[in-house]
Symmetry: C2
Subunit: 155 residues, 2 copies
DNA sequence: TATTTTATCTCACGAGATAAGATATTTATT
DNA sequence: AATAAATATCTTATCTCGTGAGATAAAATA
């Protein structure tokens, strides 16, 4: 049975299921990346956040992840031990710990893991023109807004 | 700066970032659902898999999740204690443990959590005609195939 | 200066995952 | 049929990591 001949209702059902599978696959991909890097999921997620926000304080990382400061200390310990990041005291406020990224290590270890993925995604993108990309982008933005809104309602 | 006037390169960058944010938000949504249900992430994920595959054996769950059989025993113990599922011996092979779902409990506890979410998704869908849904569906399928393929390469 | 607040770290504890091996049952071999 | 091997699940010791409470050090405030 092709997707072409489905009723609207069936189509939406199928789409919902695909969305669900997509998110499962996304989660598994991230787990596999983490494992490949020798990091647990938590540390990988934190490193991801750090890479998008460095230099940043330990407290900011705790705030953004929802972890306790004690847990964050452990995360930074492990990431520092694996030499992905290093600590530095904030000269203006010596209570603060600034997390810096060891870019050389990141580029050497992490980029290769994503090379093949990035390439495949690029190839996929090539199938779409600008207008289509914008259409897909808009869908993602709307969906994400729903996810965020519904997450908030659950808390 | 509107998305309308971006170069192709910038557009793809933005899209990539949105994909990344989308997956982060997805993961957080699932965590929040689990918390709302009083389950840890692992148990929630497993329950999800069970719901899509029941009745199924404990071993199959171990295989599908990648957990050890020992860990799966713990998962089923907790899900059974929370009365989402129950164990049954396979009459044809009494070594096997069949996991059954307590549908009454699932409908009572889990469906309400998704009611608002489903409603919002429905409303989003109403913005799209069948052809557009199929276009989005196709994109998700292709993206998921890439995720699956790249996950495999990492192992 | 003394007090309070802030940022991070330490530590005891608990949840949950693994690895190895025990147990029960089925399948294969002689 | 009896014995051995394989299979499915569970048990247990051990390890990792997150939390909560409180310690420590620096900064802000009175």
């Amino acid at each position: 049975m092709s997707i072409e001949n489905l009723s609207r209702e069936k189509l939406l059902e199928l789409f919902n299921e695909e969305l669900r599978n997509f998110s499962t696959e996304t989660i598994m991909f991230h787990q596999n990346v983490a494992e490949k890097l020798g990091l647990n999921s938590t540390d990988h997620k934190c490193l991801d956040i750090i890479l998008q926000n460095y230099p940043m304080t330990a407290g900011k990382l705790a705030e953004m992840t929802g972890f306790t400061t004690g847990a964050v200390t452990g995360v930074i310990d492990r990431l520092e031990k694996a030499s992905y990041v290093y600590r530095d005291k904030d000269p203006n406020d010596r209570r603060r710990v600034i997390i810096h990224v060891n870019l050389e290590k990141v580029e050497k270890e992490i980029l290769p893991v994503f090379t093949s993925f990035s390439q495949s995604i690029r190839e996929l993108f090539e199938k779409y023109n600008d207008q289509e990309i914008k259409f897909l982008f808009d869908f993602l933005v709307r969906s994400r807004a729903i996810l965020r809104e519904e997450s908030k309602k659950l808390r």
